[in-house]
Structure formats: structure tokens, C-alpha cells
Symmetry: C2
Subunit: 145 residues, 2 copies
Amino acid sequence: MHNTDRSIGEAAAHLGLPESTLRYYEKKGLLPHLPRDEGGRRVFTEFHMTLLQVISNLKRTHMPLGSIRQYVEWVVEGEHTTPLRLDMMLRHRQNVLDEITAMHEALDGIQIKINRYEDRVRGWQQLSSDKPDQAAESSRTDSAS
Amino acid sequence: MHNTDRSIGEAAAHLGLPESTLRYYEKKGLLPHLPRDEGGRRVFTEFHMTLLQVISNLKRTHMPLGSIRQYVEWVVEGEHTTPLRLDMMLRHRQNVLDEITAMHEALDGIQIKINRYEDRVRGWQQLSSDKPDQAAESSRTDSAS
DNA sequence: GCTTGACTTCAACCATGGTTGAAGTTCTAA
DNA sequence: TTAGAACTTCAACCATGGTTGAAGTCAAGC
């Protein structure tokens, strides 16, 4: 019983996650060997809190729970799985970098729409200051959006 | 019947999506007023192909189909919805930028693991070239991963 | 001793984003 | 004219990632 141990409520509050999610993670194998106290309550050790930080990083980069579980199993198996973990992380990093690139490309397309809409709204403002009190049909520049 | 019109099969091939997904998108309201030919088959006009490009950009940046549908409805409603669309796109852009930032932060954590694993593997290689044919218990440096 | 709050289990339910299968229709080319 | 490809509809199914609710246990404070 380390002083750093946490109840599920404390762990949840610390991580900003609902307790139900932490139970779900345990059920899914993301929290191996999670101890219980005399009353059968989950005890979140420092190890598990650190692990949850790692899980958070993997989740924020869209790794599916199944892969995270595989990773955790390798951690439990010991250091001889280091090459497997390294390979997994290298691949994952590349996937994430590719995904970020794709998002930037998509953002470029979105930015074009933003520019078009801003121009259009500016055009209206211009019009209404030229000829106050006139609801005008605007310049026809719509394509597919 | 423009020469640029496409059958669902052609559209799917062009976009790299299964036909079933295009039917699903129509059902979900992402492809408004999609015409049919005499035989009742879907006709993908240039407008719809362009719209699908926009949809692709929004999807790649994780906008849910429900929001995309709202956007498409505004497009159909006409130019007076421009401020709504502009607002939606500005918010969305910010969300995406935040998400990318979060992913970069998570990647930093992942990079630390990669470095640790690479060091460990290098350590082993060092060891095995110093003392060939010796399976060694490595330096104890495991924390939570 | 009794309520309150925090915990437990387990199964059922939910939203999202499709995918699949069955059964029927229509166009195309030999 | 007939086989096959390509299309249609619709409902059912699937994986993912949780969320919720019912029913029960347990320790602490009044």
C-alpha cells in the first residue's frame, strides 16, 4: 500500500476519465495485474498510472485498443519483447505522421472554402455600405459548396 | 446527361470508395438531389463529385457524418447560409489544429519510448560483440513500459 | 443500527460508420 | 434471346469504444 496508490475514483479524477472507462480498460486487458485491496477494490499503482499515460498517448494518436493491448502484453512479457515493441512504435509513429500530413492536406481544401466564404461576406458588407437598406442577390460564384 | 456524369461504379473507382459507401452517404443525406437515370440508377454529376471531394476533406479531418450533413444542407439552402458555413469551417479548422497539436504532443511521448528501446537494443548488440555467444540479462531500466 | 457514499459485477444498451447478403431488375454483347 | 455483368432495394449484421442501469457489498460517521 504505497502512498501513491489511488482508488478508481482518484485515478479517474486525475486522468479526467470516467470510472466506467477504467473498468472497461481493465476488462479489455489494458491494465494487467491491477491489484485489489482487502475489500476487492481496484488499486491504481504508480505503475498503472504511468501505463495509463502511455495508453493516453497511444489513444490520442488513434491506436486501436486491441493494438494497445498487444503492446501492454509485450511490456508484461519482459525485455525480450523490446524489438517487437520498437517495431510497433516505429510503424505507429510513421502512421501518425502520415495521418497528420493527410490532415494538413485536407485543411488546405478547407481553407479555400473559408477564404471564399470570407470574401463573399466581405462583398455583402461592401454592398450594404454602398447602398444601405438593400438586400442584394450576390455575385454568382457558387460551385459545389 | 453530361459527359462528365458517372455511374456509381465509376464514381466509386474514381474516389477509391466502395459503392456501398456511396449509397450509404446518399441515405445519410450527404448527396442531396442525386439524380437517377431512366433505369433508376444513380447519376453522379460533376457537382456531386466535387461535393464528394469536400466530404473527403471533412472526413479526413474527422468531422462526423452528421455535421457534414448539416453543412451539405446549408449548401443546398443557398448563399444566405454562408455565415453559418463560415462559422462551422472556422470552428472545425481550429478543432483540427488542436487535434494535430495533441497528436504531436503524444508523439513526443512515443518518441521517448522509441529512444529507450533503441538504446536498449544497441546495448545488447554492444554486449554480444564484446562477449559473443552470451545471452545476457540486461540493465534494469524498465519503468512502465 | 442505519444512512451515505464509494465501490463491486454483469449484462444490456448506445452511436458511429459502414458492410454484407438476399432477391430482384436492367443493359450489353454474342 | 439469353447469359452475364452491373445495377437496384432493404434489412441485418459488424467492429469499435464506450455508457448505463440494476443489484449488491462495504466502511465511516451520526
